[in-house]
């Protein structure tokens, strides 16, 4: 690979979402960018896998030896060795099929499944969607409406939450009085940014959203809708301002592309990093997958001046002015045992958790507050998003880990919705399940940023968070972009391809006449 340039403005390690947005933004303004990833696929922690690839991925992580620390001394001041042991990042990985026959059947369909390591849905007016539109990256991707917002009522039944005005008025769960009070609240939230009609300014941060709602003396069903399905702010620590802002984000997103406020990425969330990487490549960034960072070299001014990369075959040295790395590649000696974990569960099932009469496939969101002592997000995708074959459903659960194992976080939730043990024909059967946890990398990056002698041209990026939407990744990318290029615009709209001038159009000496004599070969 002698043709590979040696000098870059920025080297980016990891093709997760924040790194990919940054690659796009930096290449867009003309910076020279080298973007690498240790995997043969894009996305890192944000990748979407086929069923086979998900199994391979988990088997590979389980195989990582935990001997990296002994291998080489890492206290030299001139270089730092980077981590490539994913076993330090992911823990508690397990997967299983319900039985052998099912396993055979599902594995034959492996390619038809798109399984997200970091599933997510997006507010139609969230920052990520706005960025996709303003940067034109939207032309690379396609979305589906999250067509059902669900909630679990007090009797343990799944209810569909009405999201649009017409749905509210059609709802047979709400009486006329209830409909009116819900609409009044909605209008008051949308009225202004200080929510003057709803709350005294000094109370915004002192009382909880839950308290605010209960002060309004709504009927119970409205309380539940607003707290658990619209704002998704059920906890005492979620103050009124957060709850009202989240409610507003939900409400303003309704109607932009459809009745639902949420979008889901067609073919899975793993498409998004690829879309930003394509934009980055279109603006000249160089892509090299299956190539990882081995170490970075620090000069006497405590700046990184170069990195060594390697794969199975080769080792290279590249110079850079700035280095951006995903925290899972952080130097080995920066890794400490971190107790803050985020847990995930992926299920393949044979029925939907909420059967709608319309006969269509849906994508559903269900927020489960205080399921055992943690809030769980549940997303069910289907054939509707091209993420599973017809007749199969993929369910994602994620939460902050409060248990010993990944699985324990979700046990109660799985018992509630799925057919476990006793035969309940109405509940979906779980055909495949996969559990895993990983370091809360936001927390990890926060710790990394505190390291006193950290080189000042090194930027750490965090991965998945137990939140809906990817807006915090957009914020993170903007912040790092501003650190590196304080005077440049973040991802301005690219020129229309029709307006781009190719080569030197003024001296078209190579223009050959249309009729040439070399057509002898074809047909």
């Amino acid at each position: 690979m002698s043709d590979l340039p040696k000098d870059y403005d920025i080297i980016i390690v990891g093709t997760g979402l924040t790194e990919s947005i940054l690659a796009g933004a930096l290449a867009r303004i003309g910076k020279s960018v080298l973007h690498i990833d240790r995997n043969q696929f894009y996305g890192g922690e944000f990748a979407s896998h086929t069923l086979n690839n998900l199994m391979e991925w988990s088997d590979k992580i389980k195989r990582y030896p935990d001997i990296e620390n002994d291998r080489e001394q890492n206290d030299k001041s001139c270089f730092k060795k980077c981590n490539n042991d994913l076993g330090k990042y992911y823990t508690e990985i397990e997967y299983s099929f319900s039985d052998l026959e099912t396993q055979d059947k599902l594995l034959k369909l492996s390619r038809k499944f798109t399984l997200d390591l970091t599933p997510n849905i997006f507010y139609s007016r969230g920052q990520l969607i706005e960025l996709l539109i303003s940067s034109d990256v939207a032309k690379y991707c396609e979305f589906k409406m999250v067509s059902q917002i669900l909630t679990l009522d007090r009797d343990g039944n799944v209810q569909k939450v009405p999201t649009s005005r017409s749905e509210v008025f059609k709802s047979n769960k709400l009486g006329m009085l209830e409909k009116r009070s819900m609409m009044q609240f909605v209008q008051a939230v949308l009225k202004d940014d200080n929510f003057n009609e709803l709350i005294e300014p000094e109370q915004l941060q002192t009382i909880s959203f839950r308290q605010l709602i209960s002060n309004k003396k709504f009927p119970q069903i409205i309380n539940d809708y607003l707290i658990n399905a619209v704002a998704m702010c059920p906890n005492e620590k979620d103050n009124a301002l957060k709850g009202l802002n989240d409610t507003k984000k939900f409400l303003t997103s309704v109607g932009r592309f459809g009745d639902s406020p949420f979008l889901y990425s067609m073919y899975g969330a793993g498409e998004l990093p690829q879309c930003f990487c394509r934009m980055s490549a279109v603006f000249g960034a160089i892509y090299y997958l299956d190539m990882t960072i081995d170490k970075f070299h620090i000069n006497s001014e405590n700046r990184i001046e170069s990195i060594t990369t390697k794969n199975d075959k080769e080792e290279f040295k590249f110079n850079c002015k700035n280095l951006i790395i995903d925290s899972s590649y952080a130097p080995i000696d920066y890794f400490k045992s971190i107790d803050n974990l985020i847990s995930h569960c992926i299920l393949i099932t044979d029925k939907t958790i909420y059967k709608n009469d319309d006969g269509l496939d849906h994508i559903s969101l269900l927020f489960l507050p205080k399921m055992k002592d943690t809030d769980i997000y549940m997303i069910e995708t289907s054939y509707a998003s091209n993420c599973s074959p017809q007749g199969y459903f993929v369910v994602y659960l994620f939460c902050r880990n409060t248990r010993k194992t990944s699985r324990e976080n979700f046990e109660k939730c799985i018992e509630t919705f799925f057919n476990i043990g006793e035969l309940d024909e109405n509940k979906p059967n779980v055909l495949f399940s996969c559990f895993y946890s990983h370091i809360d990398s936001d927390y990890f990056v926060h710790e990394l940023d505190k390291i006193s002698n950290r080189p000042n041209n090194l930027h750490f990026v965090s991965g998945c968070q137990p939140k809906l939407d990817f807006d915090h990744h957009v914020e993170q990318a903007k912040k790092i972009f501003n650190d590196i290029c304080p005077n440049d615009e973040f991802m301005p709209k690219p020129p229309d391809p029709e307006d781009i001038i190719f080569g030197d159009e003024t001296e078209n000496k190579n223009e050959i006449s249309k009729e040439t004599n070399q057509n002898e070969t074809s047909e």
């Binding site: 996709l132 223009e511 249309k514």
Partner: protein
């Protein structure tokens, strides 16, 4: 051939009753076999001997007229991501047509083309129309891949096949026209009507958006 091309700005003209169909076409093939040059010849009628990789073009568009139908191609280039085996699968997602390009003076590029055909048949949509282009026909004196060999391979794998030259323009128009003829034509309006159905998605940058202010909300 009854077909002819129009510039991308087209659409007017006398055949006002004509239908318009739009297709995503992707280019695949090893580095420097002339993928970008083929597009540039087709779209702009240009050729540059030392074509730099194209910076800033997400895709180019060009139309081909087939009888009463205007076929609009949205042509995607690899943006160099193929160079270190790093082409993202989203690149050929949803593509209705592909041109897999090799260089007739480079045997290895023909083998690589076959790998791309395999990849497309495995990963892309099952109805994709694939054309194989043996480019650099102007270098016939340095030929390393025979016409017969490539033609046989193409026939065995149901691919359209032509040898082309972006430099002389030989067969460039023809290969795009042949693809246009083979594509299933459904009108843009029909395509739009399908959008409302369950299977199709939301294009957030496009026409699906309801034009409302930031306070706009169906809830109000």
């Amino acid at each position: 051939m009854s077909s002819q091309t129009r510039s991308g700005s087209g659409g007017g003209g006398t055949a006002s009753a004509s239908r318009t169909c739009q297709f995503k076409l992707v280019l695949l093939g090893e580095s420097s076999v002339g993928k970008s040059s083929l597009v540039l010849r087709f779209v702009k009628g240009q050729f540059h001997e030392f074509q730099e990789s194209t910076i800033g073009a997400a895709f180019l568009t060009q139309t081909v007229q087939i009888d009463d139908t205007t076929v609009k191609f949205e042509i995607w280039d690899t943006a160099g991501q193929e160079r270190y085996h790093s082409l993202a699968p989203m690149y050929y997602r949803g593509a209705q047509a592909a041109i897999v390009v090799y260089d007739i003076s480079n045997k290895e590029s023909f083998h690589k083309a076959q790998t791309w055909v395999k990849e497309l048949q495995r990963q892309a949509s099952p109805n994709i129309v694939i054309a194989l282009a043996g480019n650099k026909l102007d270098l016939a004196n340095k030929r390393a891949v025979s016409y017969e060999e490539a033609k046989q391979y193409a026939d065995e794998h149901s691919l359209l096949f032509m040898e082309t030259s972006a430099k002389t323009a030989a067969n460039v128009m023809d290969i795009f026209t042949s693809i246009a003829k083979k594509l299933p034509k459904s009108d843009v309006n029909e395509q739009a009507s399908r959008q409302s159905q369950n299977r199709s998605g939301v294009n957030v940058g496009g026409a699906n958006q309801n034009q409302q202010g930031t306070s706009g909300c169906a809830c109000k």
